[in-house]
């Protein structure tokens, strides 16, 4: 915090940081100045005029600059007109009056003006009950409008701006919060005002409508019911709902969320999640969420395909079984094959689940494998960002390198925060094999040929060039690395090279310095901490083994894995929902969804955060850690499972990095700015305050003072396709066919079809046009997609999004063939 200044608001002396505006300053002192257009996260615009107050400033002597005194007090001069508190900065000696008759008159007038074009349809409005206009009308408005109500403007109700957001033109009060959010914060100006004067209205001309992964946030900050989400429209009244804290499980950012739930007849009297709301954590997601998190996070935990009973294979068919029988069957099979016992688990699981799995495997001498295409987690343990990291603190003089990752697609909130760091002056360097959305905000964009990743990093490490020197000289530096165009080997090598770069340039061991993995799943980092590692050749690792698969669908994902599992000795699958993998299992254990139980996850920034049981348990499902303990018992191993907190306690004792942590420390909250989530939704929006924990960041070895030795990775020869081949490269797509997204339904249009991107030259070589269907085939896998021309892609390369139907894990030489006659719609 910078310099402090002192001013008087309604007779109360308050001290605030210089540069704050009067609304925020008063807020900090607990004095409410009503606002509509001002939002503490955005630049003030002074449009709505709700915040008009009287402002007096001390008169200064022209010559000396000192205050002119009068009766022993500084002489205060008031302006003849009221002033907007949102656009005026608090100044030393300023006197603000927010309660005079003049001010109240102005407030009454502003509310009356606003209501002349408002339909007052509160009884049917989704915002009713948490509506700033409603609240401020009650508090500051006139009892009655003098406007001839028959003269109100009417517009077609509820226009879809896209599939996710509806616009009700009549309700809009023109505060421009949504427009400004999209422009200033999201950096995607896909909303704007059309027309002018009282005909002004919101439009979106993007294709598809309101094309931004941050669109849901506008409904939180809209001070009326003009913008509402498709999934919550007419869903429930705010006051009927309960709120429970959780963590979004869609990506490694670990956004803090609140589930709003309600017991309802429409769901057979069950309690259901009605919507997902952001929960403030200024160090993680501030007060925002991406649409993937908001619209799909909970759906996969619901639905018909949920497993509620254990199942056992009998005469080639899966039949219902008791827990005892199922556990016994699996226990016996695994006991008989201890040497070949393999645990395959994913980062969809909690720390506690993964810990019990690891303990079991270790005790019986089995193997653990992380179900992921991405390696390098042991390096983030070593040189990950230091405890105390907050991306909001990065700015001028700092550097952020984003390597082989499209943050917009893989971890949208990181994209948003890196973009903001760039706007604060941080040097953002984006290095990737193709164009990404972050490019336009980056100071430097490095475009390498897929295969040249290590060379690119070593050039950065060498110094001498402008970008390399700027990175080296940065006060703080963070590197994000991801799996764009890379598999397990490639990412591991890149992680090592990035770690080395950070070490060589002295950017490890402190807050706001270090390495962050842009993982494919929410708790991959936790899995690494606990000792899970991905493997280069999963098919090989599974073949002929006795496999315990938890939280993964290898059969559905890749025909090679399916084939390998067919040759397995035994397969036990622990899952939420039916899948291709449960179909081939010998035993199926129904697991509880994260919304039904407690637990903790570790974000990419190595922040351990807790989630809380929100919904009642479905059927006989049990938490993963408990099922593992029961299975362990069958195998003669005793594991704790009384509760998630008990498991966590043992975990914290067993793993050094976790040593000081307890469930209580994870649940601690700090005071945060801006203040949101009280009775003041007019101020910050409907974001929830954080009452259940901001989490704790692990201390990386480099920060703990340990020796940092980074193994040099051997460089593999880059793959170069022959004339009739392409280099098929996996990239990540936000809305994919993964079960966590697909099950939401409303995102189907955004998931779309598989698009395979090539540049014009490659397209020409393939004799392909945009929109045609191309067949891609390589060792054991194949698929079809629609040709998309993207000239930011290198020649000879075809980009294939992961989890869209083609089982691609790493770059691979493939054949591409245009299907004749097959032209997509």
């Amino acid at each position: 915090m910078g310099k402090k200044i002192t001013l008087t608001v309604d007779g109360k002396q308050i001290s605030v940081s210089a540069g704050m505006n009067v609304v925020d300053a008063a807020k900090e002192a607990g004095i409410e100045i009503p606002v509509f257009c001002h939002h503490p996260k955005m630049d003030p615009v002074g449009m709505c005029r709700m915040c008009l107050v009287e402002i007096g400033r001390p008169v200064r002597d022209r010559a000396t600059g000192e205050f002119v005194m009068e009766d022993g007090k500084p002489k205060i001069q008031f302006m003849p007109k009221l002033e907007t508190a949102c656009t005026n900065k608090a100044e030393d000696g300023m006197v603000v009056v927010t309660q005079s008759p003049r001010v109240k008159d102005a407030q009454r007038g502003t509310v009356e003006f606003l209501l002349t074009s408002h339909p007052l349809d509160c009884p049917v409005c989704d915002k009713g009950g948490e509506c700033p206009l409603q609240d401020l009308t009650m508090k500051y408005g006139p009892g009655k409008s003098r406007f001839d109500l028959s003269q109100k403007q009417h517009f077609e109700k509820a226009l879809p701006l896209g599939e996710l957001i509806y616009l009700d033109r009549e309700r809009c009060i023109f505060c421009a919060r949504c427009v400004r959010f999209q422009d200033e914060i999201a950096g995607e100006a896909v909303l704007a005002f059309d027309d002018r004067n009282r005909l002004t209205h919101i439009i979106s001309e993007s294709e598809p409508g309101f094309n931004s992964v941050f669109s849901g946030n506008t409904t939180d900050i809209c001070p009326v019911g003009a913008l509402t989400t498709t999934d919550f429209r007419f869903g429930a009244r705010p006051w009927e709902m309960q709120a429970e804290s959780s963590i979004c499980m869609q990506c490694p950012v670990g956004c803090n969320i609140t589930f709003n739930t309600r017991r309802e007849a429409g769901s057979d009297g069950e309690i259901v999640i009605k919507r997902v709301m952001p929960r403030q954590n200024e160090e993680v997601n501030e007060i925002w969420l991406c649409d993937k998190g908001r619209f799909s996070t909970h759906h996969y935990a619901e639905g018909k395909e949920r497993l509620t009973k254990p199942m056992l294979r009998k005469e080639d068919k899966l039949v219902r079984a008791s827990w005892d029988n199922a556990l016994k069957a699996a226990g016996e099979a695994f006991n008989a094959n201890k040497k070949d016992f393999v645990v395959l688990a994913s980062g969809r699981l909690s720390n506690e689940d993964l810990f019990n799995l690891k303990s079991l495997a270790d005790t019986v001498g089995g193997e653990t494998i992380l179900y992921s295409d991405m390696g390098g987690g042991e390096l983030t343990q070593l040189v990950g960002v230091g405890a105390g990291t907050n991306l909001s603190e990065l700015g001028a003089g700092d550097a952020i390198l984003v390597f082989a990752s499209d943050l917009y697609e893989e971890a949208p909130i990181w994209h948003l925060r890196v973009k903001q760091a760039a706007e604060r002056g941080a040097t953002v360097i984006v290095a990737a094999g193709r164009q990404t959305k972050l490019d336009r905000f980056a100071k430097h964009v490095i475009r390498y040929a897929y295969g040249d990743e290590l060379k690119t990093i070593s050039d950065l490490a060498k110094g001498g060039a402008e970008i390399a020197d700027e990175f080296a000289a940065a006060k703080n530096a963070v590197v994000f690395y991801g799996s764009d165009g890379l598999g397990v080997n490639g990412t591991s090598a890149v992680a090592a090279a990035c770690a080395d770069l950070l070490k060589e340039t002295n950017h490890i061991g402190g807050p706001n310095n270090g390495l962050i993995g842009v993982w494919q799943r929410a708790n991959d980092q936790g899995a690494f901490e606990i000792g899970f590692r991905p493997t280069e050749d999963l098919a090989k690792a599974l073949k002929g083994k006795a496999v315990y698969i938890v939280g993964a669908d290898p059969v559905g994902d890749d025909p090679n894995y399916a084939k390998a599992l067919k040759g397995a000795k035994f397969v036990a699958v622990q899952e939420l929902r039916e899948s291709a993998t449960t179909d081939i299992a010998d035993v199926v254990f129904p697991a509880q969804a994260f919304v039904e139980r407690d637990g903790s996850v570790t974000s990419g920034e190595r922040r351990i955060q807790r989630f809380y049981a929100t919904l009642p348990v479905k059927g006989d499902a049990k938490p993963d850690y408990a099922i593992t303990a029961l299975l362990a018992k069958q195998m003669g191993v005793i594991l704790q499972s009384a509760s998630a907190s008990v498991v966590f306690e043992i975990l914290a004792h067993s793993i050094e990095a976790f040593n000081e942590l307890t469930y209580d420390s994870l649940a601690e909250v700090k005071e945060q700015w801006p203040i949101v989530g009280r009775d003041d939704m007019y101020y910050g929006g409907t974001t929830y305050a954080n009452k259940k924990g901001m989490g704790v960041q692990l201390i990386p070895a480099a920060q703990a003072g340990g020796a940092v030795k980074i193994q040099k990775m051997r460089k593999e020869a880059a793959l170069r396709p022959k004339a009739d081949e392409v280099l098929a490269v996996p990239v990540n797509k936000l809305y994919d066919l993964g079960v966590t997204v697909k099950s939401a339904g409303i995102l189907d249009e955004r998931i779309g079809e598989l698009k395979i991107s090539v540049n014009s030259a490659t397209a020409k070589k393939l004799d392909a046009e945009a929109g045609q269907i191309v067949k891609i085939s390589f060792e054991g896998a194949q698929g079809e997609g629609v040709v998309k021309i993207d000239d930011s892609v290198a020649a000879g390369v075809a980009l294939i999004p992961r989890s869209m139907g083609v089982a691609i894990h790493e770059p691979i030489i493939a054949r591409a063939q245009i299907k004749t006659g097959g032209k997509a719609k």
């Binding site: 100006a189 896909v190 027309d195």
Partner: protein, 164 residues
């Protein structure tokens, strides 16, 4: 054909007026350019301009909406925009416009059957001393017609119809 392909010289000249990192300033002149032939800005032109100025299409549409001289729909080839603001009205502009409507058989805001003239009533055009007056907005830009009478206006309309 894109706007740039169609008018390479004009586009270059327009972009040269503004600093290269503030291309957005070129939106307004580009819109006038795009409107030249059809009398309104087509969807394709909106795309082109968004690209040239490095903004979204939504932003371009939003600018078209704000300013009255941009149009997103086809109307008459010439828009005849009669000033009926206070100073002109004090000199008979309203009666002048009424008479024109009568002669043309259309109401304000409507277009003659042959699609040549759309009659509009607009705000002050800075020609208050020369009322009644109007401007025509057409393929050849915007032209003022000062000190008008109904007869002379009808002659002008005949001439425009001849051109069309």
């Amino acid at each position: 054909m894109s706007l740039e392909q169609k008018y390479p010289e004009e586009v270059k000249k327009i972009l040269a007026k503004y600093p290269s990192d503030f291309k957005r300033s070129a939106i307004m002149p580009l819109l006038f350019l795009a409107q030249r032939e059809e009398g309104f800005v087509t969807k394709e032109a909106i795309k082109d301009i968004a690209q040239l100025a490095d903004v979204t299409e939504t932003e371009v549409v939003s600018i078209i909406g704000f300013y009255t001289l941009y149009h997103d729909k086809k109307e008459g080839k010439y828009r005849m925009q009669v000033c009926t603001d206070l100073p002109c009205a004090l000199r008979g502009a309203d009666q002048f416009l009424d008479k024109l409507c009568e002669n043309l058989g259309i109401k304000v805001g409507e277009t003659t059957e042959d699609g040549v003239v759309t009659l509009e009533s607009v705000q002050c055009l800075a020609s208050c001393d020369r009322a009644p007056m109007f401007q025509t907005q057409g393929p050849d830009g915007i032209k003022y017609h000062d000190y008008m009478t109904v007869d002379r206006t009808m002659e002008l309309i005949e001439a425009l119809k001849g051109k069309g």
